[in-house]
Symmetry: D2
Subunit: 355 residues, 4 copies
């Protein structure tokens, strides 16, 4: 009874073809897992954790390059100081709610130590968006166990979207949203390259929502579907994780991360003041092992990177839309209800605007 | 016989109202001047200089706050190291072609000294995009005199657009383009605020061009209008200068500058590898005089800045479109011709896509 | 029975006079508290939390400006993405060990909610250095209660140094170290200004240690005093918190933070690869209240900031030295012993090198 | 009759051995050339250009990786936006006076075109410090010919220091200074690596000057040797260019560049407000050819980079001191005289402070 993805509705965005799963897991080695935390007592909780392994369990000893970008930094992403310095990602990534960043972050350190990771210390990447409208912000309900459950649940293959994991209580363009993912395949420098995106989407104004340029938000106004979180647009945010199997350097991962801005803008994200629009890109095409003193690398030439930029923008765009189409109406904290995007209306509007 | 602006065609983009001139000069104190350099012997030259005074001639002793953003830094903007350090803009800005950045930069220093400016040294902002397809890149035809002419020609009031000043030889989305400008008015924090944009647009692929979400570039394909610069999309660029009369701090100017990315994305800019997509925002709402040891300032609160973000994105968007509608077909270096955007087709496509 | 501070030994560094306490608390409104966690069962723990209130409990509704710098980012400081975006610090700061960053970070969120803070979400600053040589890294012994205890213990007045709070298990230049603080008074722009520093010092090679230029580390070799942490120099770090009562803007706080590099270099810090040398400066001279739509501010002119730069370097330098002189020999995890700097030798060497 | 270098005086700084030339040209492929411009009519000119080829004339088609750092950005370095984006250096570097940055920058573009460089456009790196105390700032005497002469004069081998090239009119710690260079050899990752520095030094207060920790500036006070530029300390600056043959990535070059801060601090540089303390590091150990779509690279592991950090700090330190010992007393604009550092006094002070 899950809701369809965007393409299941006959709507395609972008020029490039998606990968087989149209998910970040199309990048070989990437695994995603969710722990969803829903409770009504003692606190109303609509929260969770989503974990992304950049290179399966190998990551502890076989690092990937990474780079970030903050389009609007009203949020938290731990580990970014280290990534800016070293360009390396050496642990799984997690996304959760704002007030659980700490517990999830330490949980990854503990997970590493429990698992016998050889590194002496860990600086994991944990990012957040706020589910404070649907989930009691004073509940502090996410625990180390939830973080470990998300890490353990991670698999290659299709990725659950919408009201799952860290995305459980999230809202986008005033509709219920959550986790979404997509991917693109491109040919460049004589090889096939995949770029995948996973978003935890929790930002934006209804009236700015566009799908392939069509002003869907204006056409499905608040009179038709009441706004989720009418007073809280400012505390929204979006985390975008981009993955590619191309051999990029850290500085090139930073460039890729900046292109999430483009996909976000296409949907209607302007990076409003209260939004933590923070992006991280990693590339599995090189391998950096802490045991090496010299690493042999490959670098995609600057001229060959353009298709990846387009792919990053498109994958981000479609991942946000998948978060919207997948999410179901939810009622939570203080009786608040966040309505899902009405898919029949979406299809109708798209047809009307496309000659 | 000048071509119309976008709104003259009955096409409006964005939600916010423009200022009276719909130009960067709607921000009080801002002056713009052009020196256009067109020659056929001894070299074919289609180039020039556009000068922007942030606060008229007062700028030498009454600085404005400023902040920049490089969305894709394949270009040059001098003065950015100083602006990143101090957050101050203390001289006029100029935009020209890639190989004239130096002469124009030194010319501003000399202009200041000639005019008796009290500062001991100058670190002016000069940015560029490349007109190498329409103008002989070996000509080095722009001189100190041209720079001074642009500075002297600067006025408040309407701004010439299209094939003028630094924009003379520029191309965007494979159509002739150049200089464009627009503005937005917003009410916030109990006051009326203006945000203006001026662009020198020289980037992009035809098929990515969108107007208010409508895929205009796909609809006016290369079969209808041949592409300008078919082999050179990678060496395009766009410079965006944003101005506001709001009392912003330097860090807030940086935030505003980043929103040019949003407007650029709406039109179809992805920041391809060879593009120098470099943005600068300045705010005239505060005054910093080098003679003061303590300056009294005002700061717009973070929560009140959202309308400015929207305005910056919209003004950038419309400025790019004005650069396209204003520019006329031009033939230049090596017989290359850059065709203007056919306005009748534009209107027709827009009508077809808008139910 | 506490050990003396540097000046108690007749050794003064720098040209500027210290404040009355020669501590970060010389900046009015700044409060510091420690929670020290020492245990031998079930795990050997030599750890803790140090809390800094930038403006007492007012901070939740009366923000200070702030800016950071990462000299070598092999560490964690949460909240930096927000500070880079907004230039505001809206909560207390805490410093702890690497694997407790998360619990302390969430504890500050919970403390705010428990205390009725009006902000909807919190992005606190928590930084770390690693005590993994003296404290069992798998213990995870620091709890929310410890974080709250440090917050509650904070006072104006003298600051305990050495083996206290977050500094409990730290080592610097191969001697036992920990928390240190110092301050400087300067006159500029017709007013008296104070700059204070607090460090959690845990970095460096013995042979590079200098005091006022004297090669103390070379003169007190490993033959005389065995090295603490011989194999772990790479995992050291230093956190520097700078405070001033001057009216600085966020961009100026960033500039001040960079000067911690200078003081660190004077002592012998090179920012080795494994070191998280991360600095944050805040300025209490302006008040930003979230209830305001326009804030009235003052800004120290760029030309008047030089004495603060010198003061920041000197306060950092002396704070590190106070961390060294105050810390006592400690034995901890796996029987490791970190020896204190022998003060008699220090005095003797200084006298020998000073004609 | 040239003055000695620091080591010729029996004074050595740092722990690591210098290369055979103790110059940036110890890095294979690096060439340095000067054009010195001295005139008394019609204007008093004490200026020039210093050119650095990172990889001889190959650089146009065989790029090196590079990264920069601005410790205090009150200056200009063109090309930094491109280097921040791409991490590549594709042209020679030049250093000149503040008001000649533009002419030298365009001259490099023209030099490339004249020489048939295959790249369509050029974004060269040109940096500056101000010689306005000894050289008429209104003279604008540096020309394209001077820039080309410096480029053409460049050779491997020993590098002239002091009053030459861009350093002709420069002043440091209130003594005459100019160009200086030094190098260090280190063994890491099973290979021998060289790090070289070249500085154009023009900053600082007398009383802060230290040599190997000895307060030389305090000991050679203004009563003994009058200060050069008493009113202009604020307009000083230092440019540091670091080169290494190690296989570093761009992000690692940025890290190396930051270590120039450490060497500068050891000498007494605090980065005062008016100073443009801007650093660039490049690494020749990788080759990036624009004709490649995939480049094969090597990367020095993070753990193996520590000796290079120490080397960069030491080479910067000694290069500044060589600029001081090599420079001779000069009289220039408006009859101003900048006195050289008295070498006999330097030696005497060093002996007195070293037991």
């Amino acid at each position: 009874m899950t809701r369809p993805r965007l393409r299941d509705l006959g709507i395609a965005v972008g020029r490039l073809p998606p990968g087989p799963l149209n998910a970040i897991t199309d990048v070989a080695g990437v695994r995603v897992g969710h722990a969803t935390v829903i409770a009504d007592t003692p606190h109303t909780v609509r929260s969770g954790v989503t974990a992304i392994w950049p290179r399966g369990p190998e990551i502890w000893d076989n690092f990937v390059f990474a780079g970030g970008h903050s389009f609007n930094g009203n949020g938290e992403m731990t580990g970014v100081v280290w990534i800016a310095e070293q360009g390396l990602l050496a642990s799984p990534i997690a996304i959760t709610n704002t007030h659980a960043v700490g517990v999830v972050r330490d949980a990854i350190c503990a997970y590493a130590i429990r698992g016998g990771a050889r590194q002496a210390f860990h600086l994991p990447v944990v990012a957040e968006t706020s589910d404070a409208w649907l989930s009691d912000p004073a509940a502090f309900a996410v625990t180390q166990d939830h973080a470990w459950a998300a890490l353990d649940a991670a698999t290659a293959g299709p990725v659950a979207e919408g009201n799952v994991g860290g995305g459980t209580g999230m809202i986008t363009h005033e509709f219920k949203a959550g986790i979404g993912t997509a991917s693109r395949r491109v040919a460049t420098a004589g090889r096939n390259v995949c770029v995948g995106a996973l978003v935890q989407a929790n930002y934006g104004l209804r009236e700015l929502l566009r799908v392939d340029g069509v002003p869907v938000g204006r056409e499905i106004g608040r009179d038709l579907v009441p706004s989720a979180r009418p007073q809280r647009v400012e505390s929204g945010s979006i985390i975008v994780i981009l993955a590619t199997d191309a051999p990029l350097l850290p500085i090139q991962c930073q460039r890729l991360a900046r292109r999430a801005t483009t996909g976000l803008a296409w949907i209607g994200g302007v990076g409003f003041n209260g939004s933590g629009d923070i992006f991280l890109a990693f590339a599995t095409g090189n391998h950096v092992r802490p045991s090496e003193t010299i690493s042999a690398l490959r670098m995609l030439s600057p001229d060959a990177i353009n298709p990846l930029f387009q792919a990053a923008a498109e994958a981000t765009e479609e991942a946000i839309l998948n978060a919207l189409t997948a999410a179901e109406t939810m009622t939570g904290y203080a009786g608040h209800t966040a309505h899902a995007l009405p898919l029949d209306r979406l299809v109708e509007v798209m047809q009307r605007y496309r000659p």
